[in-house]
């Protein structure tokens, strides 16, 4: 469009008679000539081009592409320092313990567990007088290698701490997960709410360089365009060989759908950058659990909030960057959280509530074909009228599997077992059915 030179705008103090009144112009207001002088336009256009060029040059190569490769549990275990001796994997092993002590808090929920170098375990959960209460805090407890019990819970972050660190009013804190990055720095991603209920959640990051004994200040992530509302976290991340961390998160306001938050750590630890991939086409499915399948394949398992009440699965062929449509599996899901890991032999182990409604049992299931079909396995908990929920499953470097979950909304329980125990239980179930 040719640019016509226009006379400079009259000074503000000039009399109205010196310039035509806008009211005299018969054209619509949006089409009237504008007194932005030509030389101003030229300078501003040049500035826009220079700033645009300079800002675009800051683009970091490769960040717009899928992560190079997702580290499978076997590869991750090979990098991590060994914990318990691998020989322990041969004999069936099963142990239970309480992560949170009895007089701790009236309500405890949404636990996560992370194996640390040297065989130590670190668990986190939130607790207080009730879910969403102002006195709720995110706690951590650790278990030393070989020890049977857990340390006393310590507050990692509560409402008051978050309020100071984030420079804003915080109404409550909630779900938290912990995981290490490639440099050994431990990350905690936790939910906080300033306005409304859980649909008003936002995510915050804390990091620790001493395996969770002390935590750095919180940093708010802006990942939702509308007031940064309604992003929550529940399950463990996947790790790319280029250092990126793919954390499964989900959206709950208006529409409910899964998302993958890609966190890029600095070489020496801490957060360099983040960005979010939304999967808004998968409405009604939340709390994704990601399982690396080897190569470029990743399995996503989803909680079903729709009427169908079935656990859903989706697949990525490019390390979690793009995803297939979600399909229902043969496992029920009573609108409750679930989790899964890949076993060293390639099978997928899931933990879930085996019912179409209620959370009165907690059960394991195994898939021999990357999550396409499932066989229900041993029942870990079952009691009418009770709640066993929000399981969190991880492998450690010694081949053991660790499970934490909410017990009756009062305590956090930890179960540790190995593949030999799992296979024995599966054999016994088959024998019992025959």
């Amino acid at each position: 469009m040719p640019i016509k030179p226009e006379p400079a705008a009259p000074p503000a103090a000039a009399t109205p008679a010196a310039a035509p009144s806008p009211d005299d112009d018969p054209r619509p207001a949006a089409r009237r000539p504008l007194p932005l002088p030509l030389r101003h336009r030229v300078v501003l256009i040049a500035a826009a081009l220079v700033v645009g060029f300079a800002t675009a040059r800051h683009d970091r190569d490769g960040f717009d592409a899928a992560p190079v490769k997702i580290a499978t549990p076997a590869a991750a275990a090979a990098r991590a320092p060994a914990g318990a001796p691998p020989a322990a994997a041969d004999a069936p092993y099963f142990a239970e313990s309480w992560v949170s002590p009895v007089p701790h808090v009236p309500a405890a929920h949404s636990s996560a567990i992370c194996p640390l170098p040297g065989g130590e375990l670190l668990a986190t959960w939130y607790g207080g007088t009730r879910e969403g209460a102002a006195d709720v805090a995110v706690y951590t407890a650790r278990r030393a290698p070989g020890a049977a019990g857990w340390s006393r819970p310590e507050v990692a972050v509560d409402r008051a701490i978050a309020q100071v660190e984030l420079d804003r009013v915080i109404k409550k804190v909630g779900n938290a997960v912990i995981f290490p990055d490639h440099s050994g720095t431990l990350w905690m991603v936790y939910v906080s709410v300033s306005v409304g209920g859980w649909s008003g959640s936002a995510l915050n990051v804390k990091t620790s360089v001493d395996n969770g004994r002390t935590w750095g200040p919180s940093r708010r992530l802006t990942i939702s365009p509308f007031f940064n509302l309604s992003t929550l976290v529940r399950n463990k991340p996947i790790f790319a060989s280029d250092g990126r961390i793919g954390l499964p998160v989900y959206h709950e306001l208006a529409l409910k759908f899964p998302q993958v938050l890609w966190l890029t750590p600095k070489p020496a630890g801490g957060m360099l950058e983040y960005r979010l991939r939304s999967l808004a086409a998968k409405t009604g499915l939340i709390q994704p659990s990601l399982v690396p399948l080897g190569g470029d394949r990743v399995l996503m398992m989803l909680r079903d909030r729709r009427r169908e009440r079935r656990m859903h699965t989706a697949y990525s062929e490019d390390n979690g960057w793009t995803w297939s449509d979600a399909a229902p599996s043969n496992l029920p899901n009573p609108d409750s959280a679930l989790d899964a890991v890949r076993l060293p032999d390639g099978r997928i182990l899931a933990v879930y509530n085996h019912a179409h409604s209620g959370r009165e049992n907690l059960r394991l299931a195994v898939s021999p074909d990357a999550g396409r079909t499932w066989r229900a396995g041993p029942v870990l908990e079952a009691a009418a009228g009770r709640e066993f929920s929000y399981p969190y499953l991880v492998n450690d470097a010694a081949g053991r599997i660790h499970l934490t979950y909410t017990w009756q909304r009062e305590r956090i329980k930890h179960i540790e077992f190995n593949v030999a125990w799992l296979d024995r239980q599966l054999r016994q179930e088959v024998a019992a059915q025959q």
Binding site: P35, A48, V51, G52, V169
Partner: protein, 218 residues
């Protein structure tokens, strides 16, 4: 510690609200001195305790990422109230409201109507986002519209990480300006429709009824 850009927007907004209130309460009392006093009052209001926190802490918790467009609109209003200078002309205002309505509707409503798209993601792609903002700014500047200046300011803010958000789209649109723009455009549309209706009625009214005093009896 209050983030600088956020504090600027909040002070400017409070200042504008106080000036508007003063004009409503005492129409003839406007002076530069009063404007300055109200500016200082706006700054002090940031630290007003509301419940357990200061006012700015509540506001920051609710909207930590006000856009450059919002700052521009507030500053234009402030300038007009303080100095009587019309920074944005009628066509600029029209462009601002239309841009905010279209950009906000596209960004905020897209997951509901086209879930497979992920428009917000592209705001993290520095190359795409920077050139998109620069292109929009150039387009509006080329036709002499001052919305281009606000978009350029958004691009500069993005390049300096002025907001807590690192997503480029948050620098040019936010929920407040979006909802405000929808309100303005809806009001204009309603006013336009009313005016057309009145014009149609006037055109179709019988000539003897125009003076208002005629009646069939007379």
């Amino acid at each position: 510690m209050i983030p600088t850009f956020y504090a600027m927007v909040l002070v400017a907004t409070l200042w504008l609200v106080l000036l508007w209130l003063a004009a409503r309460l005492r129409p003839g009392a406007h002076s530069r001195r009063l404007g300055l006093v109200l500016g200082v009052a706006a700054m002090l209001l940031l630290f007003l305790p509301v419940g357990e926190a200061r006012l700015w802490s509540w506001a920051f918790g609710f909207c930590p990422n006000p856009s450059m467009l919002l700052l521009g609109v507030v500053c234009a209003g402030l300038w007009q109230r303080l100095f009587g200078l019309e920074v944005l002309k009628a066509a600029d205002w029209t462009a601002v409201w239309r841009f905010a309505a279209i950009a906000g509707s596209t960004l905020y409503l897209q997951p509901m109507v086209a879930g497979r798209l992920d428009l917000y993601y592209w705001g993290w792609e520095h190359g795409v986002a920077a050139w998109a903002l620069a292109g929009l700014a150039v387009a509006f500047l080329a036709v002499g519209n001052r919305l281009g200046v606000l978009l350029l300011a958004g691009l500069i803010g993005y390049s300096f990480d002025a907001l807590e958000s690192v997503n480029a789209w948050d620098y040019v649109v936010d929920p407040f300006i979006w909802l405000g723009s929808l309100g303005v455009l809806a009001t204009r549309a309603a006013q336009g429709a009313l005016a057309r209706r009145r014009a149609r009625r006037a055109a179709s009214a019988p000539p003897f009824g125009v003076s208002g005093g005629a009646s069939p009896i007379n």
